[in-house]
């Protein structure tokens, strides 16, 4: 297992080199010159030239790229052109918000996805099955930003029971320990803050998690159907094991293996794909911030965010593969054991 983890970690290097080249080239080729954006409407050509020199943008591209790579290894991702703040600080101040939202979304998606999928499989070809799968179809088809706006209009604009956006009431925020509001609220015993954070999390997490919930529900249904048709399920039933135990201990445990993979992949994509949800719900995360920085040609920030998301995505995949082995003891990663 250890060898496998080391091997996977080493495989990170070519992946990250590839990602770094792609993001570097895309920003240089498709983004407008950042200098006039940063210097404003009174910028003269002389000022623009001086700024470009000061920020190394007149250096040959390979030098710029090597400086970027050097920065990654030394932990210095540079300074935002626009705000003059270190990129790492900008990213770290927003990343907990995105992770908190993605985790809340994946929890909602997993809980409801597995419940709906299991009920659909157990009650195959009944009204429950149809209702579950129609819900999943709607979840897959609905654009997140549209769903977000609808949720805001219903629960905030009409029923007035949930806030329309943001991460929490600024005057009710918990003392900062980890940067995760919910966790900080629990750690500091701040009940008001926990309630406030949950109230603010429900709508964006539901909107973001809807697509993943649908995917998980479908996967659970098909996986459970396959498992429920296995001989050992029939044997368990013949032995008089209760139906609940058959589903929970025998079917779901075995059916979970592909579901765990899907959940892991969905979590990765939620981290990178929260852009629309974050914009609609004014969620102060990395997604909407990156879009702003792309529009402002803030190269160091965009490069930094893409690298961080890439690393996170690859690491999540690795963790999923390890969990995979824990869920299914038949899977071994060492050649000798195979």
């Amino acid at each position: 297992m250890l060898k496998y983890i080391i091997k996977r970690l080493l495989m990170l290097i070519p992946v990250l080199i590839g990602v770094s080249i792609i993001v570097f080239v895309i920003m240089r080729v498709f983004s407008p010159d950042p200098a006039p954006i940063v210097l404003g409407q009174h910028a003269t050509q002389d000022k623009i030239d001086a700024w470009r020199v000061a920020n190394g943008l007149n250096d040959p591209l390979y030098i710029q790229y090597l400086n970027f790579i050097k920065g990654i290894f030394t932990g210095d991702l540079g300074t935002s052109y626009y705000t003059k703040t270190p990129v790492l600080k900008e990213i770290l101040s927003r990343f907990p918000a995105t992770i908190e939202l993605a985790i809340a979304a994946i929890i909602l998606a997993s809980v409801f996805g597995i419940i709906i999928g299991t009920i659909s499989a157990v009650k195959k070809n009944t009204i429950f099955d149809s209702a579950g799968m129609v819900t999943a179809l709607i979840g897959v088809s609905m654009p997140i930003f549209w769903l977000g706006i609808i949720l805001i209009i219903i629960f905030s604009g009409t029923l007035h029971i949930l806030p329309s956006g943001s991460r929490g009431d600024p005057l009710m925020q918990p003392m900062k320990v980890t940067g995760f509001f919910l966790l900080d609220g629990i750690l500091t015993g701040n009940i008001q803050s926990i309630g406030d954070t949950l109230a603010h999390l429900i709508l964006p997490a539901s909107a973001l998690g809807m697509y993943s919930m649908a995917i998980i529900a479908r996967m659970t249904r098909s996986s459970m159907l396959e498992t429920l048709g296995q001989d050992y399920i029939r044997t368990a039933r013949a032995k008089g094991v209760s139906e609940g135990k058959v589903i929970r201990k025998h079917a779901l445990r075995n059916g979970l293996i592909p579901i765990v993979t899907v959940i892991g992949l969905q979590l990765g994509s939620l981290l990178g794909g929260a852009v629309l949800t974050e914009t609609v719900f004014s969620w102060p995360g990395i997604g909407s911030y990156t879009v702003d920085c792309i529009l402002k040609s803030d190269f160091p920030v965009v490069q930094g965010v893409v690298m961080l998301v890439a690393i996170t995505f690859v690491l999540i995949n690795l963790v999923v593969d390890i969990i995979y082995a824990m869920v299914d003891p038949r899977i071994k990663y060492s050649k000798k054991e195979a």
Partner: protein, 516 residues
Amino acid sequence: MNTVKKVLAVVLAAALLCLTLTACAQGASNDPKDTLIFAQGADPRGLDPALVDDGESSKVIVNIYEGLIKYAKDSTKLEPCLAESWTVSDDGLTYTFKLRQGVKFQDGTDFNADAVKFNIERQMKGNATEDMPYADFVYGYVTKVEAKDANTVVITLKDKCTPFLYNLAMSMAAPMVSPEALKKNNNNVNEAPVGTGPYKFVRWDKEQSIVLTRNDNYWGEKAKTKNVIFRIIKDNSARVVALNNGEVDMIDGIDATVVDEITKAGNTVDQPDGMNINYMAYNTQSSICGKPEVRKALSQAINVPELVKSLYQGYATPADTILPSFVPGFSKDIKQVAYDEAASKAALAQAGVTTVHVITYSNPRPYNPATGKALAEAVQGYLSKVGVTCNIEVFDWTTYKQKVKAGDFDICFYGWTGDNGDPDNFMSLLSDKDPSMNVSRYDNAAYLDLIAKGKAAAEGADRDAIYAQLEQNQVDNSVWLPISHSKLLSAYRPVVQGYYYHVTGNIFLSGMSKTK
């Protein structure tokens, strides 16, 4: 079946817990009367007045900092602020400011002549860094700053420049920052602002909110409301829902399409004229529009009041002048070329003009919320009636600016949002050597002469007359067709008292309060 029941029970219990905690949180909030919440569409770039150039930063900055001079409540006329009075020498080169005494920065340090000197010298040539966007604009003429005594500052300019006084009232570069705070923060107080204003900085959660609290040591009338929160809500519809839902008290950055929704919810839409001009520019160097008579005939074809009414639904004022009505130098006697379809048709037929090359932008702009494309298409409709075909090319804003600079067009659409409330800031666009500013490439000796005179003349009726002459020169030569001055739309809940949105696009919150 048992399992399903158990899972359902757990889920229901969790949901119940969430609702209880949520209710608990809502019930436990602070007294809403103590907190004004203003929602804006983007995070500020920073809170150091020397290092920013965006409106979102400016709205926060004006509540924390003050300059030597400020604008009047409903115009850009100048009033004393941290300077109680000032005099200008006869040669127009020396400005002497008498400072208000007993003023302290929010960190407890004294505001005095040395602090003013420190702030100005920080942004003068040689000291200013390349990322101080307004340093040269505000202080480019300054050659020397002296602290005569603790409360007297003398500033020497290299040349006469009356707009300098207006520059000192701006929210960029001009507000006074605590020198001590600048020293502590490596010459960058973007995230640790310290000024002399009615509110002091508490916290900034990026992309989320900025919290300010009343400065109880403020030298003037203390702020009426204890706390101020600037909330960042990027999505326009979400911002409107938040207002109608009572989550925020005031919003800006709205357009005409949501006005009904806001007023139906019992809220008020505020709409002062903005410090801007939306115009159609002729390329005076193009083969077609190089002739003044052709430009005049093209202008005659367009019914500007009708166009503005249909395109902006009453949320913009048709423009006769380049200057908005509240800027000194505005003259109501100036009238644009009158709409005359028949005369236009005859003149254009005689000149043999059948097609014009038009370029425009695809996005909305502060001075043109309907987008450049919609404006160009409206103009296209009018010109088709006089036998002229418009070949329109539409570009995204960044590409568009490059196209305008390159100059391959007969007609383009542009606009300007004023910086300092001085007439020179608008009128000198047509004298600028840079074609990205002077998009018409207008080069008129009489105009250049008047611009120089206006810059040097002391404030007053004589100076105002110079700007009226400049307006008339533009009309006579039909360089632009001024279209509209866009209104600044913002909205507030009925609980807010004393609301006003300044013509510069800033919101001064210290005089506002809430009834509940």
